[in-house]
């Protein structure tokens, strides 16, 4: 474990150095990758750890985004208000919706979450007076980041990038602690055998509801960041195709690996950049990449690499 630490610090060093070395355009791309990485990792708390395939996470992502847009519109202009409000509103939506979802598993759970996700999309799309309908809610201004003795404008892409990096890192740190806690073990036990878990005294629904609420809250945090980053909230954020993104990223990167979904998010965006610069048919290529990954590397790209690395090290040791 300890010898791995410097290796895992490399990506962080890269992320800190990147905006100083790469063109501004790449600062935008990396900002978006970071937000989607947090979104995908929060999804993986459900999928990889608890064994629940949620197809409605974009709903909570969108609730976070709209809570920021609405608060800004109605006078709340501090980031220290927007971020907790984004988490809280999405977690609240998740606890209500989750209460109705956690009774079922597998395809049924996926379908119910998909249904609720589409309902949230419809609300955002059709309740025009509140949400601006299909045009969305543009932000008139982005509040500056107010720290003691310091005020940074987030209109500067580099400031925005580091703000996002800090918040995403905090979110990931929270997840890291969570999966290593007693609750983290109970989550994997839900995935492994919910019946045995119930028959050693766990309220499986409550455990799932807790996981669903936490994942929803973090998706909301990612959505709040995305709203600030894009200077608007639109119903597109809540569309079911947006719920598919964390699923695809997680499958690409590897659900069994803590950083798999983040890695998948990076691969997803880099491929998208690369391929859309040549052709409009990005989805055809995405499919062509995804299918062999699922067939030949069911543990995902990072999951497979990590497994290969571990095997080699184990072979060396004895």
């Amino acid at each position: 474990m300890k010898s791995k630490l410097p290796l895992s610090l490399l990506p962080l060093l890269f992320l800190i150095a990147a905006p100083f070395c790469l063109p501004t355009y790449w600062t935008f791309i990396l900002s978006e990758i970071l937000i989607m990485a947090l979104f995908a990792m929060s999804f993986n708390l459900l999928f990889g750890y608890s064994g629940l395939l949620s197809f409605g996470q974009a709903g909570f992502f969108g609730v976070g985004a709209y809570s920021a847009a609405l608060l800004l519109r109605h006078g709340g202009d501090s980031l220290w208000l927007l971020l907790p409000a984004g988490i809280a509103s999405a977690a609240l939506a998740a606890v209500v919706i989750g209460f109705l979802c956690v009774r079922r598993d597998e395809i049924y759970f996926a379908m119910i979450t998909l249904g609720f996700g589409m309902m949230l999309f419809s609300i955002a799309h059709n309740w025009t007076e509140l949400t601006g309908g299909s045009d969305g809610l543009p932000l008139a201004a982005i509040p500056p980041l107010r720290l003691p003795g310091l005020e940074l404008s987030l209109f500067d892409p580099r400031n925005m990038y580091f703000f996002i990096l800090a918040v995403v890192a905090l979110g990931i740190f929270f997840l890291w602690r969570l999966v290593r806690s007693p609750f983290g073990l109970i989550l994997t036990a839900v995935r492994e055998n919910k019946e045995r878990l119930a028959f050693v005294g766990a309220d499986v629904r409550l455990v799932r509801l807790a996981a669903f609420t936490i994942a929803g809250g973090l998706a909301g945090l990612a959505g709040t960041l995305f709203c600030l980053f894009n200077s608007m909230a639109t119903p597109d954020f809540m569309h079911w195709s947006y719920s598919a993104k964390p699923v695809l990223m997680t499958v690409l990167g590897g659900a069994g690996n803590f950083f798999g979904p983040a890695f998948g998010a990076a691969v997803f965006f880099l491929l998208e950049q690369l391929i859309t610069s040549v052709t409009d048919n990005w989805m055809i290529f995405l499919g062509a990449i995804l299918i062999p990954v699922v067939i030949f590397f069911p543990r995902g790209i990072l999951g497979t690499l990590a497994g290969y690395y571990r095997e080699r090290r184990e072979k060396k040791q004895p």
């Binding site: 969570l178 290593r180 806690s181 007693p182 109970i186 994997t188 119930a198 028959f199 005294g201």
Partner: protein, 255 residues
């Protein structure tokens, strides 16, 4: 003899529509007793266990655990009282290590399951207890291996360890030696007897293998076509003509 029975069943029945899988079963089990429920295939043994353990509610009758009514209570409300069960098909957490398999019930037992941000590795006391339980059933050597890698008999012992981690008063064992080779079977029999003697745990098992039943149980209940046909000591059951009739069409019971 005024001891409160650890398990008391009153007129228990379960029906799917008009088909009664089990009907009008009444029985009592004293604390510390080793008893067994036997009966031919399809007699309703597993259904009986399912309604008693809270997998689904009975359609009639009542269940008491140590004097408290628990009829129809879901498993997660029955288990904390001290009633645990094993399953006919091995039911463990395959991808978790053997030690983690035992840590899960220990976390629940000590109400640490919703401890969100403290590291699991800081729970030194629980790790120690987990290793004690594994030693108790004799699989301490496998603690760090994923449970799925273990031999079948050892996996059944993992399930036993999972159950014991919650310090049960009563354990329902659904065919604990099913699929085991003779050596593993002997090991399981000795383990159950030892646990009962050392910790006063009450075991109530169903079993196909009559050798196991007669080796363990001091009281036997016979289930036939969903109703309780006979109850008594192994000697009484062996000589009961109704049991012989039901079991072997008038032949003799093995052993």
């Amino acid at each position: 003899m005024n001891v409160t029975p650890i398990l008391k069943i009153e007129n228990l029945g379960h029906a799917y529509g008009s088909f009664k899988v089990i009907d009008d079963i009444s029985l009592e089990i004293a604390p510390g007793e080793l008893s067994a429920l036997i009966g031919p295939n399809g007699a309703g043994k597993t259904t009986f266990y399912n309604v008693v353990s809270g997998r689904f509610p009975p359609t009639r009758g009542r269940v008491f655990f140590a004097g408290r009514e628990i009829t129809g209570r879901p498993a997660h409300k029955v288990v904390p009282l001290g009633m645990l069960r094993s399953f006919q098909i091995t039911n463990i957490f395959p991808e978790l290590t053997v030690r983690e398999n035992v840590l899960v019930p220990l976390l629940l037992h000590h109400r640490r399951a919703f401890s969100l941000l403290r590291p699991l590795q800081g729970e030194k006391r629980l790790y120690r207890q987990a290793d004690e339980v594994l030693e108790k059933v004799g699989i301490g050597a496998h603690a760090d291996r994923p449970a799925r890698e273990l031999a079948y008999g050892d996996q059944r012992l993992v399930e036993m360890a999972i159950v014991l981690a919650r310090e049960p008063k009563l354990v329902l064992l659904d065919e604990p030696t099913a699929g085991m080779n003779p050596e593993e079977t002997t090991r399981m029999i000795n383990l159950i007897k030892e646990l009962a003697a050392r910790f006063g745990t009450t075991f109530f098992l169903t079993e196909h293998d009559m050798k196991v039943v007669f080796a363990i149980a001091s009281r036997i209940f016979v289930l036939h076509q969903g109703v309780l046909l006979a109850a008594g000591t192994p000697e009484e059951i062996r000589n009961d003509p109704r049991v012989r009739e039901a079991y072997l069409g008038g032949g003799t019971l093995p052993c």
